[in-house]
């Protein structure tokens, strides 16, 4: 941009003779900035106030260092091993996290305060003025810049080379399309291409893929521990969350753990009270899905897939905590309240005659969980 008031550029000799302060002012002036006020915060050097300010800044930096050291020491030596409330040493243990937080956080805070104090006490608070331009660019500037662009088109001959332009348009367009296909294409999937697979929407981890029996397994908190469920394990009016287990997975820790973690696997095994069991109404086609008073329903809510594991043993209602849907365990877990519109899928179970453990006789006969486009029911 053209400048109206170019400051007088000093000659070589003048430059050589200038002090640091003068050079600073000159540099700013060349950028169109004028220093109005540039006070030295401590005009008289070596006063007690200045020394005090210096010590204050140093204090915060040292404090930061001490706090940082303390956090390292606490990290290594503070008792961090779990102590139950009421046992000896619980108080110290309970302070482990707060001590780490206070010391490390304090170190960060103190170094920040130190830097800020230094800025406030020792860096000059100058007042500088810079003139701004008024109005638009001048006619001269406008005309020359337009001419420059036009000259660019002319001298590169791009204006009359339509073959190059079209081929570039083709190449660039296809490249752009290719770049959109990658992220968009990943979103387009046919969820039913593998519907018969146990990973498809129609099936869960309970699907029988071979002749192997699928047992009902309990989660004991240790994924590698396999505990199967027997009818006598449950008192009447009780509920247990069970997961599928196959004998072939016994040594496969990964598969054992995966069975517990898979989201559509959890099943509520409910043992009704005998006086309630006589009032059960079964759904057509599911008459033989239960075993005596034992009914197995999926834990996945048919509304939006939350775990519906709030089982009230007196009213036999199954509650979903997310949107307060309620299902009646006495009537094939049909929804009786709330936004859910479909029953919970029921798992067909029986007791294995050889081992006495519960087994699933098949997968759910309908998809578990929330609706999707092609779902028929």
């Amino acid at each position: 941009m053209s400048d109206d008031k170019t400051p007088d550029t000093p000659s070589e000799e003048e430059l050589a003779g200038m002090s640091r302060a003068e050079l600073t002012r000159l540099g700013m002036k060349l950028d169109g900035v004028e220093l109005i006020e540039y006070p030295d915060p401590w005009p008289v050097k070596g006063t007690r106030a200045e020394k005090r300010a210096e010590r204050a800044v140093a204090f915060w930096f040292v404090l930061s260092g001490v706090a940082g050291l303390a956090s390292v020491v606490a990290f290594i030596w503070w008792p961090s091993k779990y102590v139950a409330p009421g046992d000896d040493g619980y108080f110290l243990y309970s302070l482990y996290t707060p001590v780490l937080g206070v010391t490390l956080g304090g170190a960060v805070l103190a170094i920040g305060i130190g830097v800020l104090m230094y800025t406030r006490r020792f860096i000059p608070h100058e007042i500088a003025v810079q003139d701004r331009h008024d109005g638009g660019s001048k006619d001269l500037d406008k005309k020359t810049i337009v001419a420059q662009f036009a000259d660019f088109g002319h001298s590169t001959t791009i204006a009359r080379r339509s073959m190059i332009k079209r081929s570039l348009g083709f190449g660039g367009g296809v490249l752009g399309l290719a770049l959109t296909v990658v992220p968009l294409g990943a979103l387009l999937r046919n969820p039913h291409a593998q519907s018969d697979n146990k990973n498809g929407l129609l099936h869960t981890g309970w699907q029988h893929t071979s002749d192997e029996k699928v047992y009902l397994r309990r989660d004991t908190g240790d994924p590698s521990e396999v505990v199967l469920v027997k009818p006598e394990d449950l008192d009447s009016g009780s509920m247990e969350t069970v997961f599928p287990f196959r004998k072939s997975e016994e040594e496969d820790e990964e598969a054992l753990s995966a069975a517990l973690l898979r989201s559509d696997n959890p099943v509520m095994l409910i043992r009704l009270r005998p006086e309630d069991a006589v009032r059960v109404v079964k759904h057509a086609g599911q008459e033989d899905f239960n075993y005596a008073d034992f009914y197995a329903y999926t834990k996945i809510c048919s509304h939006l897939g939350c775990p519906t594991s709030l089982y009230e043993q007196r009213t036999n209602r199954i509650l979903c905590p997310c949107h307060q849907s309620q299902f009646d365990a006495l009537q094939y877990a049909k929804p009786v309240f709330g936004p859910a519109t479909r029953k919970l899928a029921q798992l067909p179970i029986t007791v294995d005659e050889e081992t006495g453990y519960f087994i699933a006789t098949g997968d759910f006969i309908e998809p578990v969980g929330p609706a999707y486009w092609e779902r028929r029911s």
Binding site: T97, D233, D235, E240, Q313, L319
Partner: protein
């Protein structure tokens, strides 16, 4: 050998057989008496005087709703036959029973019966139809040594209703799962065994005694003001309240620091 055996008379053989049978039966009986554990019986149950005292208490405090023979009264209270002493212990020692009014569920309140009276009524109910009994241990003995496993089991079996730090929650039609603050070890064990009100029951085969103790140990470690090293549990509801407080306090602090940075010396 064979000659000797042939020499025996028919009578001798019979006698020997009978003797062998008698010895075998005696042996099995002795072995049985050694192997089969003593049934868990409350001491009160063995004392007819306590049972009679319990009956008297029952007739004064419970009979209106539960009937003269524990058979229950239609529209007032359920039958108590076969519920067991654990259920009586839980309901009366937490003050839920005797109930003062009908409602969505019995309210907990300061217990009406003294501990001795609770034991007496429990012994009386236990003597009528049996049912689940309290473990032999009590109090601190019911604290397991693996609260971490207890926490996992709690989140799997209990947290859906009681919240993951035992803060309780809502159930259907005005019922609710209570917060677990202040619940004693015995009460928690009795609740798991007997399944009071809406709560499902957890038999000793479903959750072993050790697992129950671990769960109690976990609950004890997160309730009654424990597990809040920050000084306040902020409701114990998880990231919502913590995030809100963190946001408000943090933003206020940042605002203060910003003002301090910009303030004129």
């Amino acid at each position: 050998m064979t000659k000797k055996r042939r020499a025996r008379t028919k009578f001798q053989r019979r006698l020997a057989g009978l003797l062998a049978l008698a010895i075998a039966l005696l042996g099995i009986g002795t072995l049985y008496s050694f192997l089969v554990p003593e049934p868990q019986t409350a001491q009160a149950q063995e004392d007819p005087a306590v049972v009679r005292q319990g009956e008297a208490l029952y007739n004064n405090t419970c009979i209106t709703c539960h009937g003269a023979n524990l058979e229950g009264v239609q529209g007032r209270g359920p039958s108590l036959v076969g519920i067991g002493e654990a259920a009586v212990f839980f309901q009366t020692s937490t003050g839920r029973m005797p109930a003062m009014m009908q409602g969505a569920q019995a309210q907990e309140k300061p217990p009406v019966l003294s501990p001795e009276e609770v034991d007496a009524v429990a012994a009386f109910v236990q003597s009528n139809g049996g049912g689940v009994q309290m473990p032999e241990e009590s109090g601190k003995e019911l604290l397991g040594d693996n609260p971490a496993r207890g926490g996992q089991l709690f989140r799997l079996n209990c947290a859906s209703c009681h919240n993951f730090t035992g803060r309780g929650g809502a159930l259907s039609s005005g019922k609710r799962a209570p917060a677990l603050d202040g619940a004693s070890e015995d009460e928690m064990y009795a609740a798991m065994l007997s399944g009071p009100q809406s709560m499902p029951r957890f038999s000793e085969r479903q959750l072993s005694p050790d697992e129950k103790k671990d769960i109690i140990s976990y609950v004890k470690s997160v309730t009654d003001g424990n597990n809040n090293p920050g000084g306040d549990s902020l409701g114990g509801l998880g990231p919502q309240s913590e995030g809100l407080i963190g946001f408000i306090v943090g933003i206020a602090a940042l605002l203060g620091i910003t003002l301090w940075i910009g303030a004129k010396q």
